[in-house]
Symmetry: C2
Amino acid sequence: MTKEMDCSIRFEPSGRVVKVTRGMTVIRAARLAGLHVNSSCGGTGVCGKCRVQVISGEVLGGKSEKLSSDELADGVRLACTAKLEGDIVVRLLDTVGLRKGQLGTEVPLRHRAAMHSFDISKVKQEGLFIPPVEKFYLELSRPDQSDHQADAGRLIRSLKDQYGERHIHIGLSVLRELRTALREDDFKVTATIARPVNKGSRARMMQVQPGNWSVRNFGLAIDIGTTTVYGQLIDKHSGEIITESGEYNKQISYGEDVISRMVYAENSDGLRKMHELVTESLNNVISNMLARCDVNGDEVTSVTLAGNTTMTHLLLELQPHNIRRSPYVPVSTFFPPLRSNDLGLKFSSHAMALLYPAVSSYVGGDIVAGVMGSGMYRSEKTTLYIDIGTNAEIVIGNKDWLVCAACSAGPAFEGGGIEHGMRAAPGAIDDFSIDPDTLDPMIITIGQKPAIGICGSGLLLLVAGLFENNVIDQSGKFNRALDSWRIRSGRSGYEYVLVQAEETGNDRDIVLTEVDIDNFIRAKGAIYSGVMTLLNEVGLTVNDLEQVILAGAFGSYLDLDSAIIVGLLPDLEPGKILYVGNGSLMGCRMSELSNHIRRDVVEVIHRLTSFELSETLSYQDQYVASLFLPHTDASLFPSVAKRMKRTGAESADTRFE
Amino acid sequence: MTKEMDCSIRFEPSGRVVKVTRGMTVIRAARLAGLHVNSSCGGTGVCGKCRVQVISGEVLGGKSEKLSSDELADGVRLACTAKLEGDIVVRLLDTVGLRKGQLGTEVPLRHRAAMHSFDISKVKQEGLFIPPVEKFYLELSRPDQSDHQADAGRLIRSLKDQYGERHIHIGLSVLRELRTALREDDFKVTATIARPVNKGSRARMMQVQPGNWSVRNFGLAIDIGTTTVYGQLIDKHSGEIITESGEYNKQISYGEDVISRMVYAENSDGLRKMHELVTESLNNVISNMLARCDVNGDEVTSVTLAGNTTMTHLLLELQPHNIRRSPYVPVSTFFPPLRSNDLGLKFSSHAMALLYPAVSSYVGGDIVAGVMGSGMYRSEKTTLYIDIGTNAEIVIGNKDWLVCAACSAGPAFEGGGIEHGMRAAPGAIDDFSIDPDTLDPMIITIGQKPAIGICGSGLLLLVAGLFENNVIDQSGKFNRALDSWRIRSGRSGYEYVLVQAEETGNDRDIVLTEVDIDNFIRAKGAIYSGVMTLLNEVGLTVNDLEQVILAGAFGSYLDLDSAIIVGLLPDLEPGKILYVGNGSLMGCRMSELSNHIRRDVVEVIHRLTSFELSETLSYQDQYVASLFLPHTDASLFPSVAKRMKRTGAESADTRFE
């Protein structure tokens, strides 16, 4: 999943060098280097402001009618449309860095969380590479006058003799095919065995095939998101991912959040409908993957799924009614092992389906999968695992203890409740910086499309950038003293104009209002105060956190500096902050490859102490204290105080300290 | 199942008294007393020979135009149509006993095996009364702000707290109903729990009902016979049988024996057809029972079934092909626990179905059920358990060891291969004795119908009676020297005329031929030699047998003296011989009431050493030695030698000793 950083780009006059992936635009590379380039159109080449001069090397594109023929001849290009093809050196023209005479090290390099990856070779080394469903090739003795053992007993005896496998349960469907299967290739067969989660229980014979098929053993890992369903097809023989696929959860047409899905499920036949929709999405994702590879559905012997508690209930057709009603009780947090076709999955008649258990109504199997997949449950380091979304789930702990909570951050990070907010889709402003003097923005959109709104990661950079440059104060209010047309009084109070109507994709000025900022602060405050409350409940402080693991799409694109500046994440060394991407999917994959994970998870669930924040006394105080940038208690954010000083506005200094 | 012996009858002049059940005919009572009364018409009142005089007490019926008015006035009645209503004294007129001056004790009293009954109170005393499926009434705590436990976890916690029950698996179907079930009667519910066979495995939650239904817990015991399906409905709360029912196995229209069923099952769709037919029979038997009682199908929580290996395979749709082909290998001898509806049983959506495991292709679950139900597997006494039929199954052993074998006796005991043989149905001669002087028979038919043939129990009495009275010799050949029109040369050699055409129900002389006798001797020889071979294999002799348990319908009607005289059963004290009736059904009932039986059976199956007689060297010798009456080795039958002496024919003495 990690792309190779194969191009090097040096920016003059600062001399800053970053390594990026081939095909990235020069403007994004500049942002990675922490450099500001004015750009108001979002990277579509319309405003023509982001001019750079290519000094050595070649770029693809970047030419524009905004550039004169002399400029073109001198290697001047638009940074927003010029793409890297190899190592280059470029000079920024007309930038804040130039005007201010800043050089090199004074511009902070941006921090992204490092990838916390899953190491299959380590799992193998530790002897934990034992998939929950395995295939065994067997050569049985033929029955004769001195050996009348029944077919089933003969098979079980052979499994014991050849592999030491004992206590195998054979169900009716296998028994019905057994006589034929044994005799088709002269008593040479491949037996598919599903191991039990509980040691005392019996393993289960899933299938008996004539001949040797032991290397054809595949698994599926599936994350059932409220928005999107992601799948991976895994070779259980090698441990490798063969392919992956994702698509919208079809339930989305009945509401974007879990609450509206639950409300719909209470209609007559609504639960069945919700089940059918998600099943359809799962079947699509699975068949897309199978269509791409030389793998037959019947060769997939198991699937592990994880989702939040509501998604899991809807998939299993369990009544979710009390998940959304106080005191928020799900039907179950543990889900029985099933046949995949019991779930309506169509790829195989015999594959086993496993669902990650949940902790509570709002800390679901997706989070548990992340805790398992990230390995934090057996780490020495006290770790904060956090999945940021409309509902943010927080887990803190290590190999000895674990606590968790869910907090309702609201939809700000997904563009909800923000006047020009939107999901991370083409045209969404996802990157931003500000010229501290002119207050002109550097705007980059997803897909180099004209801007039509602001997505979560853009919002974070906006609020952080405005705050860091004293455009807004600690409570998120605009500095009325600033002299810029971009700060103006709008319908809902003061606002900052990001893009003027004529440069947008929807003919409306795109602005960020004080109401938007307030919503953002409430969202980040809910999350930070959740972390603080949990720490408080176990008698720790942020300084005791040795590691932070960010899960979810938002986590992987998160600008760490901005997240710390606004007080979304605790003020830790960026090196301590990792991201796992789709932690839920990673946990599912782990379960497909190591039966130990499935055993450990039962113990982990019992170890995980769940806090209901709304009923935890200190939460409200923590929340109120978090409704500032970055926090009312500045001592919690020493690096931010230092940074504010460096950016220099005296007023900011006095305000903040 | 045991009828009360509530009438006493004394026969003069012998003075012999027997106790019988009300409604029995006087002629049957005479036979029980070991007395001969001439009667050639089978008990229909036509021949008028069986006259008795009622000296005290009253009988119902017995009047006939064959009797003069004086006779009627003197209390003379026909024994075959006179039924007992209370204690009486009757005088036999014109009988062999009278003519010979025999009195009392010289006439041997007939022996029937005593009933070996199932003692539920003993099971309760031993603490083994733990049905495999139990119902528990629970009052759960309601969820509140301080208790967010999921519905499923709450239920499990309550089962642990209130009953100490742990490790419960809850499947999807129960989870789907759980939220509603808990809330319908304010968190008061009845949980139905199926216990596992293996101690390490999990118990399974079958159902959750709102309210208290713990006393409404019923079970079914079902014997799947090749000919007949029998069922019992059991109250698992009290342990009592509520009702029972039986009907023909509908497969019978595709052949009477297991081989023809297996042959049919190999046709395309034949296996499914066989499955459907037996399922239909089972559903009929079950719905008949339920219709009779105030029990709803959904209140039946489990069913235990036993049948021979072929019947079990056909019920489960397992391919029986190799059961009938050397080396006779079934698909499986253990059968997984199922839902009753997996078998096509329709009474309930959730009941558990358990099938008794088999030992081999020809020692099936019905025999194993008998071994369990009779308790021989935990008896100190070395026991012979034997189920006599076309295929006779033999088990020998005690609590320490068990051996078994099946032998093909042929259909003689069911009337097959006998010229006038028939099943035990109305008109079948089922009781017989012979006047040693005149060789006239005493014939009794089932249902007091004119004779149309001879059933198995009649055949046994016939051969034994003829042999004991020297009408046939040790090799089953008629004594040509006897002067009686009843012994004549027929189409297939010599024969004995039982009933002349005019007194039959089918206008043909009913005879017993030397070929019939030869077939009978082969049948009884096969069984006896099976017993001897098994004993031989474990280094024992018949004298080591401390108990014999007869199973099956044939066993319950078996005349022990006759069985020993012909050498079908070993020459043991009649008091050591018991019958269990339908042993398979008894075993099923035991399993419904005691989960220990289900656990023990796994161990018993592994302890049971199965011998394939056709591959046991000594069997052929034993068989040849058994092809005499009672056996070539007279020392094995000391009581018979004594008896032959007493009956007095010198020729017999010299022949036999």
